[in-house]
């Protein structure tokens, strides 16, 4: 039997952020744990949502030193010095629309903190607007999302795989910055590099991908987004430890979390995260492999440490997925509360007033109305909800609408705000907002178009 304690080369990967709004201090306990580990160790930050890139592109167009993650400083500053000192390599997609700019900013942070200049590799090539015509992009087969034929493209990026990250690590760098990559590649890249896997090690690539998939949402694998008090309790959720993977050369790995943190790692937390954003678990497709989860086994070896084994890999896809962003007008949202006796009926009347006003003033746009407190996230206001609600109580109406022009969105939210004087009795607490919207679509591109364009630059 494989002895996980003594026989194996091990690689440690911690995840310090699972999305753009994740906690800025989450990586500190991981770094503390890593200080006493002598094996190769990596810290990944996943901070790039689908729509983020369109916004980032806009920042870059306005100022060519910007366009990387606006949260870069928050994530990097608390740990940069310790990472450099203790040889913890950072892998992140903080590059967003400007990976070179992100690298330069990290060098600046090092200078500001008076610590040694980090050596940073930057992976380029995900921005297909640099090498595909808008026409070729719009004529590509679409996978999901809206029809993009008539869109003004604001960003178009292909999801790169893990080999560019592995190749970047060969240059003996401290940090690798990418733009758009599949999230799991932030873990698979270091594993390919450390274990020297090639593209044919399909089961290994699959296990590394599944490991990355489990890590990529931060604490979602260590008990966060899991707690359901009384049913699924999680200790000290406020202090949840972000995940650490201990990956062994035989392809098995453990998921655990730092010392002195809250949270929970067990089969249940792992299984929830394993299936998160997974469709067919036998065919989890990334650029490097098609991962098969169907033979996976989970073993709770010790408290908060689970062994994951049994990943199987199939041949990598010929087509790569790219996300196309385009502008899609404005969303107006507005809310108003009704409480006390007969509140539900007053809330319903308020919505009736708004709907008839929209009709009267001839506002064109897709709209939706909810009553918060009466099943709003599962039912719109025009549906019977299936929860137990009383007429009396606390209800908050919400109006939402998409409009091509900002002015129409403003007029739309004004129709909720004006309920202060012109609505049913005793409405209070109005709030309104207007958001510029981006729509996205996914297309498929032949990988032979993409691969020659991938480049690594050293900063």
């Amino acid at each position: 039997m494989f002895n996980y304690v003594t026989m194996s080369k091990k690689v440690y990967i911690g995840c310090g952020a699972g999305f753009a709004g994740d906690r800025y201090d989450a990586s500190i306990p991981i770094v503390e744990d890593f200080k006493s580990i002598n094996e190769p160790k990596y810290l990944m930050f996943e901070v790039l949502a689908e729509r983020t890139l369109a916004i980032a592109q806009q920042y870059r167009i306005n100022d060519n030193t910007k366009g990387y993650s606006p949260y870069l400083d928050y994530y990097i500053k608390p740990v940069l010095e310790d990472c450099l000192e203790h040889k913890i390599k950072i892998i992140s997609n903080m590059g967003a629309a400007n990976p070179l700019g992100a690298a330069k900013r990290i060098v600046e942070i090092a200078k500001e903190k008076n610590i040694r200049k980090p050596k940073i590799a930057v992976v380029l090539g995900d921005d297909i607007l640099n090498y595909m015509s808008e026409k070729d992009i719009l004529n590509s087969p679409t996978m999901e999302g809206l029809d993009i034929k008539n869109s003004k493209i604001t960003a178009a990026n292909v999801y790169l795989g893990a080999f560019p990250i592995a190749n970047a690590l060969k240059k003996d760098v401290d940090i690798v910055i990418v733009g758009r990559s599949v999230d799991s590649a932030l873990a698979l890249g270091p594993l390919i590099h450390e274990f020297d896997w090639d593209a044919k090690n399909l089961n290994m690539l699959s296990s590394g991908t599944i490991c990355g998939h489990l890590l990529e949402c931060g604490a979602q694998v260590t008990g966060a987004y899991f707690a359901d008090p009384g049913f699924k309790d999680v200790p000290d959720l406020f202090n949840v430890g972000f995940p650490i993977a201990e990956f062994h050369e035989n392809g098995d790995f453990f998921i655990t979390k730092p010392k002195n943190t809250g949270g929970l790692v067990n089969k249940a937390t792992i299984t929830e995260q394993l299936l998160y954003e997974t469709h067919n678990p036998n065919e989890y497709i990334v650029p490097d492999v098609v991962a098969d989860m169907s033979k996976l086994n989970l073993l709770e070896k010790e408290p908060n440490k689970v062994l994951v084994k049994g990943a199987v890999g199939h041949k990598k896809p010929e087509l790569l997925k790219a996300t196309i962003c385009s502008e899609s007008g404005f969303m107006g949202e507005a809310e108003m509360s009704y409480a006390g006796p007969n509140a539900l009926q007053r809330a319903k009347l308020a919505i009736e007033v708004i709907e008839k006003r929209i009709q009267k003033i001839g506002l064109q746009g897709k709209t939706r109305f909810d009553i918060i407190g009466a099943g709003s996230v599962h039912f719109s206001s025009s549906e019977e909800n299936t929860y137990n609600n009383e007429l009396d109580g606390d209800y908050r109406i919400r109006s939402a609408g998409f409009f091509e022009n900002k002015e129409d969105a403003e007029q739309f939210v004004a129709e909720t705000y004006s309920l202060y004087c012109s609505g049913p009795s005793a409405g209070g607490g109005a709030r309104t907002s207007i958001t510029k919207e981006t729509s996205t679509a996914s297309i498929l591109i032949d990988r032979n178009i993409v691969e020659p364009q991938i480049k690594i630059e050293i900063i």
Binding site: G145, L275, H279, M293, L296, R368, A400, S439, T440
Partner: protein, 124 residues
Amino acid sequence: MLHKIKLPVHSIAHGRAGDKGDVSNVSLIAYNKFGWENIRENATEDIVLSIFKHLGATSVKRYELPNLMALNFVVQNALGGGVNSSLRLDRHGKTLSSYLLYHLILNVSLDMMPNNSPYREKFK
């Protein structure tokens, strides 16, 4: 055979919802093998589709992971257009797991539940 009562599947399983475009996936993971047998047999594509129908769902594909006592439902068109075009408060459909856990009602016996389940009171 143990006494069974009708309860939300929340009593014997947990889950999480994810989104990609206008496609939602909702997992359903049994707490133990008795619960697993129940959901494997009764949490069918048809019944899950009927539960998500009012949200616009057009089809449901079910995947099984027996090793993990888990089902994964891939629900088409249940997100009101997906995160970028949905007017819903919960644009990602992250609360859809709760919706399934509450609205899928199964015949449940005590052996399918975790030891500390508050639902055990219903059997008293």
